[in-house]
């Protein structure tokens, strides 16, 4: 068993800091890497050591695996934690780490390969007896074959690129007459995006629930699950908030899905933390969707209800320790919700809104956790993801958790950029969310409530106008000090003024 003493975190932003926090608690020293655009990022300031790995664009920095391994070798890091995104599901990176005597904190390169290819993953799951969405088990290479298969499965279907990801090469077919044109466009997009025009076909499940199970496996053959996360609130196929337990879940269903999730992970001898994603329909039929062979963005809600630090478990497993608990010892206590705070304009098609943070006040108080990375005066770079933090609350039950989240969102003040905070607060007030009766169609279905124009009273507008007026007078005052005593002076100002004067 090798004790890990130093970890290089091959990532940036909030997840890099999240990982470093656990390292600090475990007495492990931390190494940050950063691009030219991230010199002032909090993860660089938080780490024990930090090294520049290239220009702003991630292809020439955070995705440059040779460069990152070179830094790790030179600073004698024992292990690399890839976080999520970037190189976290890159088997070549995992392989190269091993070749250079560095522990890759994640599953083996073989498992990453096996689960990364959607068709291979489907076949593995079918072999393990895990239910999958009805569809093809082999990639389809000709147009005729595609059309025959679609007729066999029956509409509606999804056509997806085998090598796909990020929604590219994906088409929903609901109408008989569109079959030919949509199959063609899916194949040509797959070819141009991935250099491979093979596709596979799945039955389309309309407005499903997106529910995933957290998995932990060690190097001694133990695999267990840490219950579910409900991730159905999505916009642009990206999650906005997650909660656990899922309002849809019953104890029987949890037992059944948990057993399949463990079975799925066991089928590939999974080690470390991973996630099995399922689609669940309203009749509680569930289907394997895909496996994520890494830590998920939304892992904190699982940590909150189980009390288990998942990053710590990843590190212990990587060192070779067996898991120190069994499935029977695990339980979900209370209810946790995570909201993703994005720098974006919710009223304008969720357009990203990078910029400089003026003031930030993070919520505190009982049951609140924030995993973020921005600070006052920090300029959010335009090159990376727009997520600036995650707000996680815990409470004894779901109702209390929703009220606590509302309170925490109320306290959360970020100025200088537009954020998703207002939109998230509205979700907390939407009847479908409060009743727990929602699926992946939630945002679309409730768009009138979520995007309703803000009712601001005239008094309120007047206060904005007064503030602007005073601020402007103040500006004039600074520039034209010899003129009239402007009335906008206040005690704070006067105090500073006096202090400066006394210094003379």
């Amino acid at each position: 068993m090798k004790k890990i003493k130093k970890i290089l975190i091959a990532n940036r932003g909030e997840i890099a800091i999240r990982i470093m926090r656990t390292c600090r608690e475990m007495g492990i020293s931390t190494v940050a890497v950063f691009s030219d655009a991230d010199r002032t990022s909090m993860h660089v300031r938080y780490a024990d050591e930090a090294y520049n790995i290239g220009p702003a664009a991630s292809v020439v920095s955070y995705l440059k695996l040779d460069k990152i391994i070179e830094v790790a070798v030179n600073c004698q890091a024992d292990a690399i934690h890839p976080g999520y995104g970037f190189l976290s599901e890159n088997s070549e990176f995992a392989r190269k780490c091993a070749e250079n005597g560095i522990i890759f904190i994640g599953p083996t390169p073989e498992v990453i390969d096996q689960m990364g290819d959607k068709i291979k993953a489907r076949l593995t799951m079918i072999a393990a007896g895990v239910p999958v969405v009805p569809g093809t088990t082999e990639s389809i290479k000709t147009e005729k074959e595609a059309i025959d298969t679609i007729r066999e499965i029956g509409l509606p279907v999804m056509v997806k690129a085998s090598a796909g990801g990020g929604g590219k090469g994906m088409r929903l077919i609901t109408n008989e007459k569109d079959i030919l044109s949509l199959v063609r466009s899916a194949r040509s997009e797959a070819l141009s995006s991935f250099g491979n025009d093979s596709v596979y076909i799945e039955k389309y499940i309309s407005s499903p629930h997106h529910i995933e199970f957290q998995i932990l496996g060690d190097q001694h053959g133990n695999v267990l699950h840490l219950f579910e996360r409900e991730c159905s609130v999505q916009r642009r196929h990206q999650k906005m908030l997650e909660e656990t337990p899922s309002p849809l879940m019953t104890p029987e269903l949890r037992l059944k899905m948990g057993a399949y999730a463990v079975e799925a992970a066991r089928a590939v001898n999974y080690t470390g933390a991973g996630t099995i994603e399922f689609l669940v329909d309203n009749n509680l039929n569930f289907y394997f969707l895909e496996m994520n062979t890494r830590l998920q963005v939304e892992h904190p809600i699982t940590e909150r209800v189980t009390g288990i630090d998942l990053v710590k478990q990843q590190i212990l497993v990587a060192e070779g320790h067996p898991l120190s608990f069994t499935q029977d010892q695990l339980k979900q206590t209370g209810h946790a919700i995570e909201c993703r705070i994005y720098a974006e304009d919710s009223d304008n098609n969720f357009m990203p809104n990078p910029g400089k943070i003026y003031n930030i006040t993070e919520p505190l108080g009982f049951g609140v956790r924030t995993d973020g990375y921005v600070y006052e005066g920090y300029e959010i770079p335009i090159h990376y993801d727009s997520m600036i933090s995650k707000l996680i609350v815990w409470a004894e039950n779901r109702t209390e958790a929703i009220e606590r989240m509302k309170r925490a969102l109320y306290e959360y003040k970020i100025t200088g950029v537009k954020t998703s905070i207002k939109f998230l607060a509205r979700i907390m007030d939407t009847p479908d969310f409060r009743s727990g009766n929602y699926d992946t169609n939630f945002i679309e279905k409730n768009k009138d409530i979520l995007h309703a124009p803000l009712k601001s009273t005239e008094d309120f507008e007047d206060m904005l106008i007064i503030a602007t007026y005073i601020e402007y007078l103040d500006q004039l005052n600074i520039n034209q000090t010899s003129k009239v005593m402007y009335p906008a002076k206040n005690r704070w100002k006067k105090y500073t003024y006096q202090k400066n004067f006394e210094r003379l």
């Binding site: 003026y358 335009i382 803000l454 601020e471 402007y472 007078l473 009335p487 206040n490 704070w492």
Partner: protein, 169 residues
């Protein structure tokens, strides 16, 4: 000293009537308020009026006399129209404010595409510039029919927030 302040479509006239330190009697259009107003150099305002507490943070924009106000969950753009601004508006004989014929970046990013050049005729709603930021591309449309008068940026160049990109006449 009274000023006009523009908030969305509303233009309000503001004037201080009385003041004792942080206690102000202030007139907004026809309404008179007694407020207790505290603020600091970072643009944080705490206003107490009629027993209610208002928490407002003002951030100056790069254009002078333009501010963004942040309140609970929302933000508003405000503009001070002083004597100078009024003079400029009267002189050009138009009621157009800067924002109405000008494309300004709401966020920093990189210019991907400008399908027009100076002198081209554009129709309201046509995409006149595409900007990418945070892995997403956004298209900006012409706010009115007209002729492209100025283009201040090139394809491929990096832009700041609130930078003037294109002016239409």
């Amino acid at each position: 000293m009274s000023f006009e302040i523009k908030l969305d479509k509303r233009i309000a006239t503001v004037e201080i009537l009385k003041q004792f330190e942080n206690l102000l009697e202030i007139k907004v259009d026809e309404k008179i308020y007694q407020v207790d107003l505290m603020h600091n150099d970072e643009g944080i305002f705490s206003i107490l009026a009629n027993g209610r507490s208002y928490n407002i943070e003002l951030v100056p924009q790069t254009k002078p006399k333009h501010y963004t106000a942040y309140t609970l969950h929302d933000s508003y753009d405000l503009e001070v129209i002083d004597a100078e601004a009024r003079y400029l508006r009267n002189r050009t004989g138009t009621t157009l404010l800067l924002s109405e014929n000008t494309i300004v970046t709401p966020m920093p990013g990189k210019v991907v595409k400008i399908p027009f050049s100076v002198g081209d005729v554009v129709k309201k709603g046509e995409t006149i510039i595409t900007i990418s930021a945070m892995k997403m591309e956004s298209e900006y449309k012409a706010p009115m029919d007209g002729i492209i008068a100025f283009i201040h940026v090139k394809e491929g160049s990096l832009v700041e927030a609130n930078q003037i990109l294109i002016v239409i006449e």
